[in-house]
């Protein structure tokens, strides 16, 4: 059996429900679970806001010293740090599952994932690179950004139940207890950068180059979208009309990372490469997503503050701090010269 899951707080339940709805339609044989980084007892959702999918609250999955982890991490770090702990919990709690697939909540699955489930009968892990070909310019994001944040996008990972995948998950868990931070200079970018090691430490890892997987702003330069006669979304590696029919693959899942349904003219807040004017092919997919989010009570869910959120730390008196550091920095510069 295949289990798909996502992780989010209450404010992102519209996304998680949209993902769940897409899975129910395209992959009805999958079990789907929402990992909730929040407390239902505090949120007290009204009945119509209770998603029709099982939810697993993060404080219930036995993360050792979870309170300390909450203290250490901000909300982004916490949401990503718990990923391998969820995977491990799912392995332990559902003995029937043979495959676990993680999707970020802001994903829609468009097709039966037959290639993926087939691949997971042979491979221990399936990973998707941010981009399978060089980026065309130095707009954001480019290859240099992914060198700092991770070659593979961890909005998706497929895992089989086997020793290799379990070893990988155990190692990943150990790393994320303390080092799920964003500190690019120190080689850290949440859970994602660590996964560069997966194909080095393990042999049985599939680096998936199928253009229909994890389509998102970071790979639009190599993927062009179109709908076929039956209304199925297809991905083409070129936007030459001559290639459209011959080389298209079905879109498997689209990742709407950084999209804001209240700013429907922006592809993503994290990218500077394209506007919808330059990529009209993608616009219908985003309009569809916006519609679904709004129908799934996005307006209501987004009002719920996550109970694990902390006020941002503000370091005041920067000038005083700089002055205090000056003599130390002078000695450091002297010793390093």
């Amino acid at each position: 059996m295949t289990l798909a899951f996502t992780i989010c707080s209450v404010n992102y339940l519209a996304q998680a429900r949209t993902l769940g709805d897409s899975l129910r339609k395209t992959n009805p044989n999958f079990q789907y679970v929402i990992g909730l980084v929040d407390k239902l007892s505090q949120a007290r959702l009204p009945a119509d806001l209770m998603p029709p999918y099982p939810m697993l609250e993060v404080d219930q999955i036995g993360i050792p010293d979870f309170a300390a982890m909450c203290d250490r991490y901000d909300i982004t770090e916490l949401n990503t740090a718990v990923k391998p702990f969820y995977i491990d919990y799912l392995y332990e709690t559902y003995p029937d599952i043979t495959q676990v697939i993680y999707f970020d909540p802001d994903i829609i699955v468009y097709q039966p994932l037959t290639k993926l489930t087939q691949d997971l009968t042979t491979y221990s892990l399936v990973l998707t690179p941010h981009t399978c070909s060089p980026t065309p310019d130095w707009e954001r994001p480019n290859e240099q950004h992914h060198l700092n944040t991770g070659i593979y996008n961890l909005g998706f990972i497929g895992l089989r139940r086997d020793d290799t995948a379990r070893q990988f998950v155990n190692w990943w868990k150990e790393r994320l207890v303390y080092e799920c931070r964003i500190d690019l200079c120190a080689g850290l970018f949440v859970d994602q950068h660590w996964v560069n090691f997966a194909p080095i430490y393990h042999d049985n890892v599939l680096i998936e180059h199928h253009p229909g997987y994890n389509v998102a702003y970071w790979n639009l330069h190599e993927r062009y979208l179109s709908a076929d006669e039956a209304g199925q979304w297809c991905v083409n590696k070129s936007n030459d009309p001559a290639d459209l029919k011959t080389q298209a693959d079905f879109l498997q899942f689209f990742h709407y990372s950084g999209y804001n349904p209240y700013r429907p003219d922006e592809i993503s807040k994290y990218q500077t490469r394209y506007s919808f004017l330059e990529r009209p092919d993608t616009k219908p997919l985003f309009d569809l997503y916006r519609q679904r989010l709004l129908a799934n009570y996005n307006e209501q869910y987004r009002q719920y503050p996550c109970i694990y959120i902390k006020p941002p730390v503000i370091y005041r008196y920067q000038r005083v701090r700089r002055a205090m550091k000056l003599p130390f920095n002078r000695v450091i510069a002297l010793l390093e010269s």
Partner: protein, 338 residues
């Protein structure tokens, strides 16, 4: 064919590399493999009576004068040599149209076995890469995994390429990236030509990552590998296989402790590793056969930025302690004064 890139002061090591290959160096066709040195230095600085036992191609002859001056001004000598590597490899492929396979090896490398295994592996692939480490380090020593992420998980000290259209595309892309962006700046996601290798198995087809312990034994991976010598040469055991022939050894950071990315490493302790000591001794012997104090004292002409100082002893401890203090000053909560 085998190529390396070095400065004048590294020439004795490059010659030792060339010498090491001779006994084993049959090409794919059984011919003696040729060895070529790319000189990342000004040939005018070579001694007047100098003659090289191996062919030398000055990198300055491959670059337009203004590009050479610009690269030299912006980079350190290490970055400069790295920035020129893809260009040099491409030029060698175009200068020697009959050569179908090429190995790039750092001048710190010594070959210890027939190259047949490498040629065979290349027969099916466009490029070969070796990872720095092949299993998680089970300790708290340095370099840790985060630092390997900073410098790149594959070593750019050994690379092998088979001539093909895909290899042409790979080298053109790599040159485009590495020539302009070979700075060592971890915060910006840059580290010489090496960090770019992370993309090779993702962007290009038939790029093989070789994890066999006999490939590329070095300072950074010897803690996960053990050596023994027998009548047929060095045998090595590592996480992925036991008793494999040691094909080549990289002495970077062992021969000259200040060289490479890991001068402050504390995982490999030579005192506890007689196997590594013996291997290093044979390397030192190979280089001393080519020792030339005039060459070794020559400071590199290209790469005018200063190499970062390697700190040891009290200097390092002092800098580390002061960094702790400055970090504390950055992060200590200060009360709001109204």
């Amino acid at each position: 064919m085998l190529v390396t890139i070095c400065t004048i002061r590294q020439l004795p090591q490059a010659f030792a590399l060339g010498d090491s290959v001779l006994p084993y160096a049959t090409d794919i066709d059984g011919k003696p493999a040729s060895f070529l040195i790319g000189l990342a230095d000004d040939p005018a600085h070579l001694p007047a009576d100098f003659s090289s036992p191996y062919s030398l191609i000055p990198l300055s002859s491959l670059l337009p004068a203004e590009t050479l001056a610009a690269l030299s001004a912006t980079y350190t000598p290490t970055e400069f040599a790295a920035a020129c590597k893809p260009l040099f490899i491409r030029e060698v492929f175009s200068l020697y149209p009959d050569e179908t396979r090429l190995i790039y090896a750092d001048p710190n490398i010594l070959f210890l076995h027939l190259l047949t295994t490498i040629w065979d592996q290349l027969g099916e692939n466009n490029a070969l890469l070796t990872p720095h480490i092949t299993q998680r380090p089970n300790d708290t020593a340095w370099p840790d995994e985060k630092f390997f992420q900073n410098v790149g998980l594959y070593s750019a000290d050994f690379l092998a390429f088979r001539r093909s259209d895909e290899t042409d595309r790979l080298l053109a892309w790599w040159q485009d990236r590495a020539q302009e962006r070979a700075y060592i700046n971890f915060c910006a996601g840059l580290c010489t030509d090496q960090l770019w290798l992370m993309y090779m198995p993702v962007f290009f087809t038939l790029v093989q990552v070789v994890k066999n312990p006999g490939w590329h034994a070095a300072l950074w991976n010897l803690p996960e590998r053990s050596l023994k010598a027998d009548h047929s040469g060095w045998q090595i055991t590592g996480p992925t296989a036991a008793d494999q022939p040691l094909l080549f050894f990289n002495a970077k950071g062992l021969f000259n402790a200040d060289e490479g990315f890991f001068p402050n490493q504390n995982r490999l302790k030579l005192a506890n590793r007689p196997d590594v000591q013996a291997l290093l001794a044979s390397y030192q012997q190979a280089v001393s056969a080519r020792a030339n104090p005039v060459l070794s004292s020559q400071y590199p002409a290209y790469g005018q930025q200063r190499e970062p100082a390697v700190l040891r002893g009290w200097r390092r401890v002092t800098v580390q302690s002061m960094r702790v203090v400055t970090r504390f000053i950055d992060q200590v909560p200060l009360p709001v004064i109204r």
